[in-house]
C-alpha cells in the first residue's frame, strides 16, 4: 500500500512534441492518498488510460516523476512496482486452471509452493472463487474471469495500487452491479489504494470516495461525488456529470451582475473580477423550477424519464432544461422559469468565476 504522487507529469506519443495539443497528458500534479478509492472519469481519448499505464509502468512518461511513498519509481518496469491492473477485457491464461492463474505471479517471483497454495486459497476465498479453483479458467463467465484477473493482482502481498481500466465493459448489466459492489467491499477489506478508470459516471460515483475528472489531457476537478455534482469547477464537469447535464447559458456581465437575455440573474456569490473572456451561467436542471414569475420560456419537449420529467424550454433561442416533479406543462405552452440563486454560478472561459456565499460574506 502506498501513497502515489505524480509530479509534473507530461506525456506525448510523438517523439518531438511542440504544441500543447501534441501532449496526451498536459502537466499532471496529483497525490493519491494511501488506501483511497479513486475514480478517474473522463470521455474516451481524454488521457485517462495513458495516465493509468504510466502509473503501472507500461508507458514511460515524456516528462515528470511517479513516486510511491516518496520513492521515485519512474524508471522501474511494471513487475517491480508491485501493482495490479485489471483490463477492459478479462486477461486470463486460457490453458491454466483458476488456481494456476492466481498462482502465476507468485511462481514467477519464485515463491515457495506451500506459501503459494495458502495465499491463493486466501484470495480465492475473498473473491468467492473457492469452488472453481481446479476448473479451467477458459470456460468461466466474463465476471468470474474479471475476478481472476483481479485476484492475480491482489495475490501479491502489499500491492501498492490496484488499477481498473474500465473493467465492467464486457460484463452483463445485471452482473455489473454485483461486481461493482464486490469491488467496493474488496476495497474495504484490503484497504489498498484503488484507481478505477471509467467513462461511466454511475460507475465512478458509486465506486469512489474521490473522483478525478479529466478532459483533454488535463485534470479538471477532484472531489467527492457530491462536490462534483453540487459545484462543478468547470462547465465540462457540469456537463459530463449529471443526467441531463448542467445548463450552460451564455450571458453578459456588467457592474458585478450577470445578465441573461436582458434579465439580471442572481448568483451564488460575488463574481471574481479578474480577467475577461467568454462568460456563461451554469445551473443544473434539478435547480430550475417552474414558477409564476421569472424568465419567460416556451415548452419544446417534455420527456418522462421515470422518477421525474425533463422539460426542454426555450428562452429566446437558448435551450434550458428543467427537472420537474409532479404536473408538467404541455408542449408549446409558455411558462416562467426560476433559478435557485444558491446553485447558480458564473463561469468564465469554462472555469467557475463566482465565490461561494460563505466566502463572499
Amino acid at each position: 500500500m502506498a501513497q502515489i504522487t505524480l509530479s509534473k507529469l507530461r506525456h506525448s506519443y510523438y517523439p518531438n512534441p511542440k504544441t500543447p495539443d501534441d501532449y496526451a497528458l498536459k502537466e499532471i500534479d496529483l497525490d493519491w492518498e494511501d488506501g483511497g478509492a479513486y475514480a478517474l472519469l473522463g470521455p474516451s481519448g481524454c488521457g485517462k488510460s495513458t495516465l493509468l499505464n504510466i502509473i503501472s509502468g507500461l508507458v514511460d512518461p515524456s516528462q515528470g516523476q511517479i513516486l510511491f511513498d516518496g520513492e521515485d519509481v519512474t524508471g522501474l518496469p511494471p513487475d517491480q512496482r508491485n501493482i495490479a491492473q485489471v483490463f477492459q477485457f478479462p486477461v486470463i491464461y486460457d490453458t491454466m486452471t483458476v488456481f494456476n492463474n492466481l498462482a502465476f505471479p507468485l511462481r514467477n517471483r519464485g515463491m515457495d509452493e506451500n506459501a503459494v497454495k495458502q495465499r491463493v486459497q486466501e484470495i480465492a476465498h475473498m473473491l468467492e472463487l473457492d469452488g472453481m479453483l481446479h476448473s479451467r479458467a477458459a470456460g468461466l463467465s466474463p465476471d468470474n474471469k474479471q475476478k481472476i484477473s483481479m485476484g492475480r493482482g491482489l495475490v501479491r502481498k502489499n500491492v501498492n495500487v490496484v488499477m481498473f481500466d474500465e473493467p465492467l465493459t464486457v460484463i452483463d448489466p445485471h452482473l455489473k452491479w454485483k461486481l461493482r459492489s464486490k469491488l467496493k467491499e474488496l476495497h474495504q477489506k484490503v484497504r489498498a489504494t484503488m484507481i478505477y478508470v471509467t467513462h461511466d459516471q454511475t460507475e465512478a460515483l458509486t465506486f469512489a470516495d474521490q473522483v478525478v475528472v479529466m478532459n483533454d489531457g488535463e485534470i479538471v476537478q477532484i472531489g467527492t461525488p457530491n462536490e462534483l455534482f453540487e459545484r462543478p469547477a468547470h462547465t465540462f464537469v457540469g456537463h459530463f456529470i449529471g443526467s441531463p447535464g448542467m445548463n450552460v447559458l451564455p450571458c453578459e456581465v456588467g457592474q458585478g451582475m450577470a445578465f441573461f437575455h436582458g434579465h439580471s440573474i442572481n448568483l451564488e456569490g460575488v463574481i471574481d473580477s479578474t480577467g475577461a473572456g467568454k462568460t456563461e451561467i451554469g445551473i443544473r436542471p434539478e435547480y430550475v423550477s417552474l414558477s409564476d414569475q421569472g424568465l419567460e420560456a416556451k415548452i419544446r419537449k417534455v420527456s418522462d424519464v421515470g422518477r421525474h420529467n425533463v422539460v426542454d424550454a426555450m428562452i429566446g433561442d437558448t435551450l434550458v432544461k428543467a427537472v420537474v416533479n409532479g404536473a408538467v406543462p404541455a408542449q408549446g405552452e409558455t411558462v416562467h422559469l426560476s433559478f435557485d440563486p444558491a446553485k447558480t454560478r458564473l463561469y468564465r472561459d469554462g472555469w467557475i468565476a463566482t465565490q461561494t456565499q460563505g466566502a463572499a460574506s
Binding site: 513487475d79 502465476f104 505471479p105 514467477n108
Partner: protein
C-alpha cells in the same frame, strides 16, 4: 416436439450432387479397378482382395511408405518450429509488416513444377548457383543425381523453402489477434519471455497451428510434382515417395488393379492420420 423443417434437405442436394461427381463416383471406379485384373481390351477378371493383400506384403510398398513418412516427419519437424520462430520475429505493426508478408507469400505463389525446375537448375553441379558454389567454391562434393543423401537434403530444403511461409502466415495471423492487454498483464505478473510464449502466444496460436499442421501434413504426404521434376524418384529409388511409386505402377507399368488398391490404401492412411492429428489437437478444447 416440433417437427423439423422437412424441405431443408433439398438445399443440400446440389452439394451432394457435386461431391458425388467429383469425389464419390471417381473413387468408386477406383474401387472397381482395385478388385479386378485387366490385360487391356476392356476385359476384366475378378480378383477380390488379392491386390490389397499383395500390396500390404510388398517390400516395395513398405519402402515407399517408409520414405513418405520420413519425408513428412522431417519437413513438419523443420517447418512448424521454424515458421513459429519467423512469425514471432516479424514486426506487429508499421511499414515492414506488408513487406514481410509479401516476401513470405512469394514462394507459395510459384507453381509446383516450376519450383521443381528451378531447384533442378539451381543445384546443377556445373552451372547451377548452388551446385557450382558447393562443388567449386566450397569444395564440397554435391550432386543430387548421384548421391541419395544430397537428393534428400535438396527435396527437404526445397519443401522448407516453398512451404514454411504457410506456417508463418497462419501463426502470424494467430499472433496479431492477441490483444495488447495480455502482454501488459504478463509484464505486471512478471512473466518471462518463455512464459509469455508458453501460456499466451502458443495457446492463442493453437487453432491456426492445428490447421497449419494438417495442411502441411496432407500436402507433404501427397507431394508429387516437385520431387518428380527434381529427382524423378532417384538416384535409384532413394526419393521414390508413395505418389511417385504410384504413378510408376499406374502409368509406367499400367497395372491398374494394384495401382487402384494402392490409391485406396494411400487415401485411407492420409485420412486416418489427419483424423488422428485433428482429434488429438482439439481434444483439450472440449474438456
Amino acid at each position: 416436439m416440433k417437427k423439423p423443417y422437412q424441405k431443408a434437405w433439398f438445399f443440400v442436394l446440389p452439394v451432394l450432387f457435386l461431391v458425388a461427381f467429383n469425389a464419390l463416383i471417381p473413387m468408386m471406379t477406383v474401387v472397381n479397378y482395385s478388385v479386378q485384373e485387366t490385360f487391356g481390351n476392356n476385359l476384366f477378371f475378378w480378383e477380390g482382395l488379392g491386390w490389397f493383400e499383395k500390396l500390404l506384403h510388398s517390400e516395395r510398398f513398405h519402402a515407399a511408405l517408409g520414405r513418405q513418412f520420413l519425408f513428412t516427419a522431417i519437413i513438419l519437424a523443420i517447418e512448424v518450429p521454424l515458421g513459429i520462430i519467423i512469425a514471432l520475429s516479424m514486426p506487429r505493426s508499421g511499414f515492414w509488416v506488408p513487406v514481410c508478408l509479401v516476401t513470405m507469400a512469394l514462394p507459395m505463389l510459384i507453381p509446383w513444377n516450376v519450383v521443381g525446375a528451378m531447384w533442378n537448375i539451381f543445384t546443377l553441379p556445373d552451372i547451377g548457383l548452388l551446385g557450382y558454389l558447393m562443388n567449386h567454391t566450397l569444395g564440397i562434393s554435391y550432386d543430387m543425381t548421384q548421391n541419395p543423401l544430397a537428393a534428400w537434403a535438396t527435396i527437404i530444403v526445397m519443401d522448407v523453402w516453398h512451404w514454411t511461409s504457410l506456417v508463418v502466415l497462419l501463426s502470424y495471423a494467430g499472433l496479431v489477434s492477441i490483444p495488447d492487454a495480455y502482454y501488459q498483464a504478463a509484464k505486471i505478473d512478471g512473466a518471462s519471455n518463455w512464459a509469455v510464449f508458453r501460456y499466451i502466444q502458443l495457446p492463442k496460436m493453437k487453432q491456426v497451428l492445428t490447421i497449419a499442421i494438417l495442411l502441411r501434413f496432407m500436402d507433404s504426404f501427397n507431394i508429387y510434382t516437385e520431387v518428380f521434376v527434381l529427382t524423378g524418384g532417384g538416384p535409384g529409388n532413394s526419393t521414390t515417395l508413395l505418389s511417385i511409386d504410384l504413378v510408376k505402377i499406374a502409368l509406367g507399368q499400367f497395372d491398374l488393379g494394384p495401382a487402384a488398391a494402392m490409391s485406396l490404401i494411400y487415401f485411407a492412411i492420409t485420412l486416418f492420420v489427419s483424423w488422428l492429428f485433428y482429434t488429438l489437437m482439439t481434444k483439450n478444447d472440449t474438456e
